[in-house]
């Protein structure tokens, strides 16, 4: 208890205007920023993968399996920040066992389980099944048995079975697209349905969340592909990169349009909360919203890809631009989550004042923990790449 008091005491001086006395403690900190960021990456990576299977975008084939494994690695980590931020993580299972049917948050367990079990794992299993069986036959030692186990000891690689696999992947992907929309749109709904908070309360919230998720997912797979391929001593597929960048560009335009619509709508309606929100955006959120989210995370990347599309640039320069753009987009989308989650708690519900958020360094809700949570999926992805190599030549040798 004393650490909470010590944390809250110095915040008093930084309040401007009037806030309700209970509002000095900001309740959803960096961990709750990470949660929508990570689920967004999951949904985005999956949508990218589905472009290959459902919409037959053949150019993106080299990134299909990378995208699927990326989605899985991040989905495994997604509930951890939520768990760490609970006052009583040991009671968290009651969300599954005794859910309150009227609560949006109570659906988390079901949406998550559905997406993990019925979509991601199943699709990855069907897609890898034939390769797993062959790897298990050719392999030695522990890896042989791991592959056998993951293939659930199936042995049938007859043509009929492989065709069934392919069909299943397609069906699961078709179910998977609305599921991915559900997974992340639902996160947006958790915020968008809070009528007490005018910064959150918006029907557009789930849709904005969704498109920014697709943006971040595509950018992440682009980054991973660009980092991993040279590390393996292979050539980057330029056609695939161009296609990725194109999709990134188009989805970013939609995302930008939606955010602009939300912004204009708020200003035009000019409701009771407009004064305090204007003070927030022009003050405490100026750097993170206008400079980082809008300029660095949106306008510069859009301009960069647009210039690649307009001028004939050499491949190496294009690669550099794509790489830097993808990093800027990640920074931008992370800041987007920050501006929604933390920004929505920086003003008082009395609409009369602003408060502050001070992150701690150590502790369950600190910066160190957050960095660890963001690095953990990379580690999981490394292991997944080892167990289930997503590369084309691994498939061919199989």
């Amino acid at each position: 208890m004393e650490d909470i008091i010590q944390h809250l005491a110095p915040l008093f001086k930084e309040i401007s205007g009037y806030i309700y006395p209970n509002e000095i403690e900001l309740h959803w900190g960096i961990l709750v920023v990470i949660y929508p960021y990570v689920t967004g990456l999951v949904a985005g990576a999956f949508i990218l993968a589905s472009l290959v299977k459902v919409f037959n975008v053949k150019e993106l084939q080299p990134t299909y399996r990378i995208a699927m494994l990326t989605a899985l690695a991040f989905l495994i980590v997604a509930p951890l920040p939520l768990l760490a931020h609970l006052g009583h993580p040991e009671k968290s299972l009651s969300i599954f066992l005794t859910p309150n049917k009227s609560s949006a948050m109570a659906m988390f367990g079901f949406v998550y389980a559905w997406y993990l079990m019925a979509v991601l794992l199943l699709e990855i299993w069907f897609d890898y099944r034939k390769d797993l069986i062959i790897w298990a036959r050719q392999g030695k030692g522990v890896l042989k048995w791991i592959h056998k186990l993951i293939s659930l000891f199936s042995r049938d690689i007859s043509e009929k079975a492989v065709i069934f696999d392919k069909k299943s992947v397609k069906v699961i992907t078709i179910i998977g697209i609305p599921s991915a929309f559900l997974l992340h749109g639902y996160v947006g709904f958790i915020f968008g349905s809070v009528k007490a908070n005018p910064w959150w309360s918006s029907v557009l919230m789930p849709i904005v969340f969704l498109f920014s998720a697709i943006v971040s997912g595509i950018a992440l797979v682009l980054l991973i592909y660009m980092v991993v391929t040279p590390l393996r001593g292979k050539q980057l597929d330029m056609i695939c990169l161009d296609k990725l960048a194109s999709f990134l560009f188009y989805i970013m335009i939609i995302d930008f349009t939606l955010e602009a619509l939300d912004f204009i709508h708020r200003i035009y309606e000019s409701e009771e909360s407009i004064k305090i929100l204007a003070e927030l955006v022009s003050g405490k959120l100026f750097v993170s919203l206008v400079v980082i989210q809008l300029l660095i995370g949106m306008i510069i990347p859009l301009g960069a890809i647009a210039s690649v599309k307009m001028f004939k640039l050499p491949d190496d320069l294009k690669k550099l631009i794509y790489f830097l753009t993808a990093i800027l987009v990640q920074v931008g989308i992370f800041t987007t989550r920050w501006n929604v989650v933390v920004g929505g708690q920086l003003f008082s519900k009395s609409f009369r004042g602003l408060t502050v958020y001070k992150m701690t360094f150590l502790g369950l809700e600190g910066l160190l923990m957050s960095i660890a949570l963001l690095l953990l999926p990379i580690l999981i992805l490394y292991i997944l790449f080892y167990l289930l190599p997503p590369w084309e030549e691994a498939k061919r040798s199989a």
Binding site: P21, L86, G87, S102, S103, A104, K349
Partner: protein
């Protein structure tokens, strides 16, 4: 073994398997169903007093802004009665002071929830055209957003209309704190669970009124039944023009205000 390979033989095995799995799955859920049936028809076990039936009551509060003198006795009494942490970041009830100036500007403050009263502000004094105190408390909404969002049902409405938090169930996700438009909830730093005004439920079941109502020297707070004719609350509603906080949010508060100013949010 032969039976396994034979398709027809296999089918009976499959039926057997399905039967077993559905029985075992059902047995997982069974204790929950039985337990729910045990408790649903009898409310007495969860009520403290024997002669208190929550179905016979429905509680509300009324606050006359004109009568409040900003002494903060209510906030102090609440903290003492309910073991609310004494630090100035956790309140079940508090009093706000409003000052509206000639130029249309207004300021609000509530130092330590008004527990130590208010200091006179020297500089702007001459220009104040209107000043008053507003006690704030959980509005015990009839359409409570906090109850709606709680993922595990730890916060709930009692049959007598009071919103309570079951600390044994609360997982500390703080969604209810976000959902409350009135800032009436806080996370108890000792229990790490959501906490709020209970209308002093432990007193209600013994026929007493809430501590803040008892402590108020000017009877600015009136407590009583929402529906019964003989209630002081119903009388208050007859004698005053009534408003509630943030009516546009449709939370349907059971805390009513008389003489509320337009500046109050």
């Amino acid at each position: 073994m032969k039976q396994l390979q034979n398709e027809k033989g296999n089918r009976s095995k499959r039926r057997d398997f399905l039967k077993k799995i559905s029985v075992s799955l059902f047995s997982l859920v069974l204790p929950g169903i039985l337990k729910a049936e045990e408790t649903s028809d009898d409310e007495k076990p969860w009520i403290i007093g024997d002669d208190y039936n929550p179905r016979e009551h429905y509680w509300g509060m009324a606050i006359d802004v004109n009568k409040c003198i900003g002494c903060g006795r209510c906030a102090n009494a609440c903290k003492t009665e309910n073991n609310v942490p004494k630090h100035p970041y956790f309140f079940r009830t508090w009093v706000e002071r409003y000052q509206i100036f000639e130029d249309g500007e207004s300021t609000v403050d509530s130092p330590n929830g008004a527990i130590n009263g208010f200091q006179i502000k020297g500089t702007n004094e001459g220009r104040v055209i209107r000043s008053f105190f507003v006690p704030k408390i959980c509005n015990q909404c009839d359409n409570p957003p906090c109850v709606q969002v709680c993922p595990v049902g730890a916060t709930f409405m009692t049959p007598d209309g009071v919103i309570l938090v079951d600390a044994n169930y609360c997982i500390g996700c703080r969604y209810c704190i976000q959902a409350c438009p009135y800032g009436a909830r806080y996370l108890n730093p000792e229990t790490k669970t959501a906490d709020k005004c209970t209308f002093c439920y432990h007193r209600l079941v013994k026929g007493l009124s809430p501590a803040c109502v008892e402590a108020c020297p000017t009877q600015a707070r009136v407590f009583g039944e929402v529906h019964k004719k003989a209630s002081p609350l119903v009388r208050f509603k007859r004698m005053n023009k009534i408003s509630v906080l943030k009516p546009a949010l449709n939370t349907e508060p059971k805390v009513l205000y008389a003489n509320l100013d337009v500046e109050v949010r």
